[in-house]
Subunit: 323 residues, 2 copies
Amino acid sequence: MSTATVSRALRGLPHVSVETRDTIKRIAAELGYVPSSNASGLARGRTDAFGVLVPSFTEWFGATVLEGVDRELRKANFDLVIYEIGTSAQQRERVFNRSLLRNRTDALLALCIDFTPVEREQLASDDLPAVMIGGSVRGIRGIGIDERATARQATEHLLALGHHDIVHLNGNPEIGLNPLVALGRRKGFEEALTAAGVAVDPRRHVFGDFSLAAARTAMNAVLATSAQRPTAVFASSDEMAIGAILAAWDHGLRVPDDLSVIGIDGHPLGVSFGLTTLAQDPAGQGALAVSTLLNELNGHGRRVRFPRAPTTFISRSTTGPAP
Amino acid sequence: MSTATVSRALRGLPHVSVETRDTIKRIAAELGYVPSSNASGLARGRTDAFGVLVPSFTEWFGATVLEGVDRELRKANFDLVIYEIGTSAQQRERVFNRSLLRNRTDALLALCIDFTPVEREQLASDDLPAVMIGGSVRGIRGIGIDERATARQATEHLLALGHHDIVHLNGNPEIGLNPLVALGRRKGFEEALTAAGVAVDPRRHVFGDFSLAAARTAMNAVLATSAQRPTAVFASSDEMAIGAILAAWDHGLRVPDDLSVIGIDGHPLGVSFGLTTLAQDPAGQGALAVSTLLNELNGHGRRVRFPRAPTTFISRSTTGPAP
DNA sequence: TTGAAAGCGGTACCAG
DNA sequence: CTGGTACCGCTTTCAA
């Protein structure tokens, strides 16, 4: 058998007789033969791998996106190369100067990262197809929910229940993540208020760092010092919403009787707290990004733009009528 | 310039004049040249990448290990290829038959996975250096805490506070993860009880699936039906411990006044609940595995055995004297 | 110090 | 349907 025939047989290409193919496959299995991805990749100019840039492994959104990415990649027999790039510019520079451009991947996914203009330029100039998940950025295609509309919907839910004094527990836009998400959610919150004829009070804009602990601290401060207590909280993430619930408990307040809380995300922990939320589907977003890029790599269609990722209102038990 | 000289210059090898090297580096930078990892890997018989098998992206232990693995890999300019292999044997077979043996990685890390004998054999026969993190398995080197001693220490803490009726909230050993961790923790629990002259009551062995929600449900059942209420809970993981705390709250019980709770892990969420726990350092375990394997790949030393990973007692506010 | 040339392990084109 | 054979882009040995 020539190497050519073996190669064809093993990859399921045509022009190989059935019996030849079977023989080759059997022997390959016996020998435990597996082609070298390096050699194959070199010859084909492909790597059969996607790269993903994540801000952190331990953060829910990114991890859940990876779940979907991996699922879709696995179907296509692609591998997944992950680069964790914290919020430090130094780490990021390393990745950009070396790994990204190292031709180890056929495409790139970035998770809600706040790229610098230089980085965006590098990404664009590089021929690697790239998509950003969790908030789009100029120059790179993005897939994500409609931040503003989602925030508005959450706020409207609270308004409809009669709440007028609502705290917006938001993420700080300056922590290296894509600032557009915090900004967009703020905007949607204010829009809803304004549309309902409720005044926007800047003191009700509180920062919880997108983390449970920080949100709890921030809300504790609000509940401790406010001359007048808010009756509801709109949190830009479920983890912050749970922090708000714990803060309410810290103050002996009942949820939702004394304080209503709504979040965004659909974090699994929300179930345990009966959290009302607007759920998104990070795994679905990741899977969509992969299948689209895979399609484009195969020459089917070019440069699709993504529609807004869907969001689902999940009504549980942390929101109720204003007291 | 010949390709040979360029190759030497760019990789910092000797036998290149300083000025030649500088020129080459400058031009390479201008051109944005980056060597193809495939070609380089093919020529050197190396991939400069590690593979990691994780049960799930969204589970705390694995994600935290990845954090440490990535940190150490990045230092060495290695890339990280991740294979998520749920608990389904089918998915795993895919990985084993294809990816693992695909020569995309120089070494393999597996996170607390319950390999079948066949899989173990494949791993062993393959020349890939491998280490298992979070519970060792026959045939593969492992790095992890001393399950039994840690569980015993946690239980002893409770006993010392005067508790005699202790529930062990354990993980179910049959969910695809390494069963030795649940078994070892059970053993340590019973040892401590026996050493203290306390009878082991099988009805106090409750399964929480290593998850918060399941643990809460399980504990709710205990608290609802027990003729006599336990005064303390030893949970095999912090997430389950938090589930127990929520269950206590569900029943209007105060922690630790009515029920003491201790966990194992050092999960960040524990901080928010004041959880007393025996913390381990998953990132450190991952980093150690990587640096060791890296060393061995470079020919320095061979087949190190790992000492037990350390554990730290963190006393917070969920344990107190028995009522 | 530098360059020439032989692989590394596949793929793909072309001829038989 | 099958085999021969130039590469793919880089590393490495050997000479110059």
